[in-house]
């Protein structure tokens, strides 16, 4: 796996618009961005409405994921190119999600929606027309997803990478600062976690830094390459961004994303917290 297998440039994306076998998918939480204009032909996935179980806090199960992709006209053999707002946070989350359900060819568009917009590239308001498919998902690959007990057990033994901003890590604020600071969970971080904010892996235009810069960044911040890794943030989308960097760009093995993240951990009774 190398950068070219998992990441495409905006130039590549624009050259491949409308190409059979390639599906662009915009993933946002605030889908008003998509509705106001999106890459021509791109399918919309709403991070919350489409990708979360409507009742429990969890993913869609396998059959619901199959139904979702089938209804959006995405086939098993399609190359899925994901992009979105928030510096690709939710697109990276969707990338990780598609990998859990075994989609073979999935890529991120480097820089996401921001890079596309800043370049002044064309946006369309036309709804995509794609015939329904018969999508078949694999059983979920839990080797890339961490659950709460694993996180507690990892304290002192694995790399725990907290990718939130320094002020969230220290407990000064409880959420990214575009959100009201009213949260029920405790402030702080998992004991022993190292704080390597997701943003250090990205340039200001939302593109990823070079492999050499990324390798240097994690080495400097106390990341131990010889140990397994669990990444977390607040709800698991920024840590998907870092999971993508560590596993897909840098090729580290045994890297899991803890999507329960601080909203879950900071609400657990009796677990240790450091501040």
């Amino acid at each position: 796996m190398s950068r070219n297998d998992v990441l495409v440039t905006v130039d590549w994306a624009q050259e491949h618009l409308g190409r059979p076998g390639i599906v662009f998918v915009e993933v946002d939480e605030d889908t008003s961005a998509y509705d106001g204009g999106h890459i021509e032909g791109a399918v919309k996935l709403d991070w919350k409405k489409d990708l979360q179980d409507p009742l429990r806090r969890d993913f869609l199960d396998k059959s619901a994921f199959e139904q979702l992709l089938s209804s959006r006209g995405i086939g098993n053999d399609d190359t899925v190119v994901l992009y979105g707002g928030n510096n690709n946070w939710f697109a990276a989350y969707a990338y990780w999600y598609f990998k859990i359900y075994g989609h073979s060819d999935v890529k991120l568009m480097d820089g996401g929606r921001k890079k596309w917009e800043l370049d002044g590239r064309p946006l369309s308001k036309d709804a995509p027309e794609r015939p329904a498919t018969q999508y078949r998902a694999s059983e979920p690959d839990l080797s890339i997803r961490a659950f709460r007990d694993e996180v507690v057990a990892a304290i002192g033994s694995k790399n725990l990478v907290d990718v939130r901003s320094p002020d969230e890590f220290s407990g000064k604020i409880l959420a990214p600062a575009h959100l009201p600071q009213e949260q029920s969970q405790k402030a702080g971080h998992v004991p022993g976690a190292i704080n390597i904010p997701w943003s250090k892996a990205a340039n200001e235009d939302g593109t990823f830094k070079s492999d050499a810069d990324l390798a240097k960044l994690y080495a400097e911040q106390g990341y131990d390459e010889s140990k397994p890794t669990i990444a977390y943030c607040r709800i698991g989308e920024r840590s998907s961004h870092t999971w993508f960097v560590l596993r897909e760009l840098l090729g580290r093995t045994d890297v899991k994303n803890y999507d329960g993240s601080w909203v879950e951990y900071g609400s657990l009774v009796g677990v240790p917290i450091e501040k």
Binding site: K48, W89, F90, G120, S165, P166, H178, L179, P180, I235
Partner: protein
């Protein structure tokens, strides 16, 4: 959740006795800039949040008391503003040169 709520608009429902709100607008060449990317950086210049301005060029952050930097990135250029925020409403303008 993590995606930015709608920018601008009334402060109704926001408790200004507890929240440290930093809000304002991005201007270029005498007019507000819609769709500009605005990021909030902490006192060490580390990314804390990013939003996209409303059609009226407005942005809003929920921070904490202290020193902050606001940096705007738009297709027309970049602008930056440093401010010291307190609990309550802190208003500012970022001008793109």
């Amino acid at each position: 959740m993590c995606a930015a709520p709608k920018q601008g608009g009334p402060l109704a429902g926001i408790d200004l006795s507890t929240q440290t709100v930093i809000q304002g607008s991005v201007w270029y060449d005498g007019a507000p800039v819609a769709g500009a990317y605005v990021r909030l950086l902490d006192s060490t210049d580390e990314f804390t949040a990013e939003v996209v301005t409303s059609p009226e060029g407005e942005f809003r952050f929920f921070a904490a008391p202290g020193e902050w930097k606001i940096r705007s990135l738009a297709s027309v250029g970049k602008g930056e503003r440093v401010l010291s925020a307190e609990v309550g409403l802190n208003e500012t303008t970022v001008v793109i040169d």
